[in-house]
């Protein structure tokens, strides 16, 4: 079952064509890694999907239906949750408040933005969620996010994406600035997310991580998708050469000869 399809997505900033022509599809319950060097257009692509800015041209389909994504709210309502690197949580707020930021459970809904938060519901839902994703032992829903480690913060951000039954979870460099132990924790978590039936689009610089968790690899270069392969059908060196665009076949032969 296809959950997300992009068709000829294009985006320019002035005379710079950041995204020339991107098309690909994401299936239910798969982890697709989006690779590419700096400036390849990865960020532009995910920003267009997550509603940070709309694409100039091209179509987006969610579960076969053509959709229009004009804002982050549109994307969230369609079940597309994006976790931006280092920017997804408010450190001065508690875990519970962060988990429901922008979708706060309230009483007296008619009061609009002045409606009081439903603290009991907030706390219960947060605890239940932390328990469900298996991080309840250590973390208190009332703890401030600034007291958490980088890996814990990523796990919280990913859990938040899961809680709204997101169809597609976009992870932008989730292991940046993390230690070895924490990186493994987050990668393990990505697998759990997939096993729970969510599709994951993983943006990363680290090819090793890709081979640990991804089912499929998409490589971008200069605003275009230049390769699409299943992980089983490729290897590290091939992918690296596609990313850089350099001919590494000579190197490849040399390595194999050894």
């Amino acid at each position: 079952m296809e959950v997300l399809r992009l068709q000829n997505l294009q985006k320019s900033f002035g005379s710079v064509r950041a995204l020339k022509n991107a098309s690909f599809a994401l299936k239910e319950g798969e982890v697709v890694a989006l690779l590419g060097d700096n400036g390849a257009g990865k960020s532009t692509l995910i920003k267009a999907i997550s509603g940070v800015f709309p694409a100039d041209r091209g179509d987006i389909y969610v579960r076969g239906e053509k959709v229009s994504i004009r804002s982050t709210r549109d994307a969230m309502d369609l079940g597309i949750e994006t976790i931006h690197q280092d920017t997804s949580l408010a450190p001065d707020l508690s875990i519970a408040r962060n988990l429901f930021l922008g979708r706060e459970p309230v009483k007296l809904k008619w009061l609009g933005v002045f409606a009081p938060l439903d603290f009991a519901k907030l706390r219960d839902a947060a605890s239940a969620l932390l328990k469900r994703v298996g991080i309840s032992k250590k973390l208190d829903a009332d703890a401030l996010v600034l007291t958490l480690s980088g890996g814990e913060r990523q796990s919280i951000a990913i859990s938040r994406a899961m809680q709204f039954a997101a169809k597609v979870i976009i992870l932008d460099e989730p292991t940046n600035n993390l230690g070895v132990e924490e990186t493994h924790g987050v990668l393990r978590f990505v697998k759990e997310v997939r096993d729970a039936g969510h599709s994951v689009l993983l943006i990363t610089h680290n090819i090793h991580h890709v081979f640990q968790v991804a089912d499929r690899i998409i490589v971008m270069r200069r605003g275009e998708i230049v390769a699409e392969q299943t992980v089983a059908d490729t290897d590290l060196l091939t992918v690296e050469s596609i990313i850089t665009g350099a001919d590494m076949s000579a190197l490849l032969k040399e390595t194999r000869a050894k």
């Binding site: 920017t87 930021l101 938060l117």
Partner: protein, 333 residues
């Protein structure tokens, strides 16, 4: 801290309350009050307390708006100038334009809405720091007040009536004399506490100041919230200016000079972070009381008038150092 304390189990809540910035401010306020009371018996006299309570709401009301704005990561240097301009415009409309006092007050407040909206829109849409935008606005607004009055103070509305009672009426409790402005301050404080701590909007305000991108990514309309907070702060500054002008029956174009820094001092002394994300209305109330008590107390205990800003500055500095140390400790713990 605002985010956490009402959601914690009792034991933890108590320890976090003691470590919270507003609590340490409160302790210092009590110590200061005790020192002043011992040094000069008149400090706690009904007359002196009445005096302090007459001034307190005027700066305190502005400080409430400033707390919310600072929590969202912005601040407003034009509040002192707006405090001066708003009543001047009202009295000019009444005296030279023959406008009804009620309409004149409304026009004054609408002017404040416009000033706040301009501040907010330039800060959010063009992306210039609020320091620069509101500093420029300070000059424009103060300059406007001086120009339209030609620099002369105006006689304010002094005929008894509904609006005078509403803004600057007074009442006696025993030998204490209080102004209605105290009710305004108490009412607005309760509202601000509710909004920041318990309402959905307060969650947004803290999140915007803590990590704007995160809030925006969750669909929080950060720019709109900021613009409304600039408007709120401006309106509260104008309201405070009107209250002050009615109380002393004069509207001076230079009224409120330097209030912006005094108000910001009240807010940060109370424990609100200048960098956004963490705000406390209770702390601001303590901060407002503290600065009022310091200004009043050090005159009473005989510090020479020209030297007293030295002491005010030093006490503020000591408070900020204390908050910084507490914060470091909390981070380590």
């Amino acid at each position: 801290m605002i985010a956490a304390e009402d959601e914690m189990p009792v034991g933890k809540r108590r320890s976090s309350l003691i470590r919270s910035p507003q609590f340490s401010s409160l302790v210092i306020l009590i110590v200061l009050l005790a020192i002043f009371a011992i040094a000069d018996a008149n400090f706690l006299s009904p007359l002196n307390i009445s005096n302090m309570m007459a001034f307190l709401p005027e700066l305190g009301i502005i400080a409430l708006g400033m707390t919310l704005l600072l929590t969202a990561g912005e601040f407003d240097l034009s509040v002192g100038a707006v405090f001066g301009l708003a009543p001047v415009v009202v009295m000019l409309l009444v005296q030279n334009g023959g406008v009804d006092i009620g309409f004149a007050l409304l026009a004054g407040l609408l002017l404040c809405v416009a000033i706040g909206a301009i501040n907010g829109l330039i800060v959010t849409k063009i992306g210039i720091s609020s320091f620069l935008v509101t500093l420029s606005m300070l000059l424009v607004v103060r300059g406007a007040a001086l120009y339209i009055t030609q620099g002369f103070p105006l006689k304010s509305w002094d005929q008894p009536g509904f609006f005078v009672t509403l803004l600057a009426g007074s009442f006696n409790v025993g030998s204490f004399r209080f102004y209605t402005s105290l009710w305004w301050f108490i009412g607005l404080s309760l509202l601000a506490i509710y909004v920041l701590r318990y309402a959905k909007l307060g969650n947004w305000i803290s999140a915007i100041g803590s990590n704007r991108n995160a809030a925006v990514a969750r669909g929080v309309p950060a720019d709109a919230v900021k613009v409304w907070l600039f408007i709120l702060t401006s309106v509260l500054a104008g309201l405070a200016g009107m209250i002050s002008a009615f109380r002393i029956s004069a509207a001076s174009p230079v009224a409120g000079t330097g209030y912006e820094l005094e108000v910001i001092a009240m807010v940060v002394v109370g424990g609100t972070a200048l960098t956004g994300g963490r705000g406390t209305i209770l702390g601001t109330i303590v901060g407002a009381l503290m600065l009022r008590a310091i200004r009043n107390g050090i005159v009473l205990i005989g510090v020479p008038g020209l030297a007293y800003n030295i002491f005010v500055g030093l006490i503020i500095l000591a408070m900020l150092i204390l908050h910084a140390l507490l914060q470091k400790n909390a981070a380590r713990g």
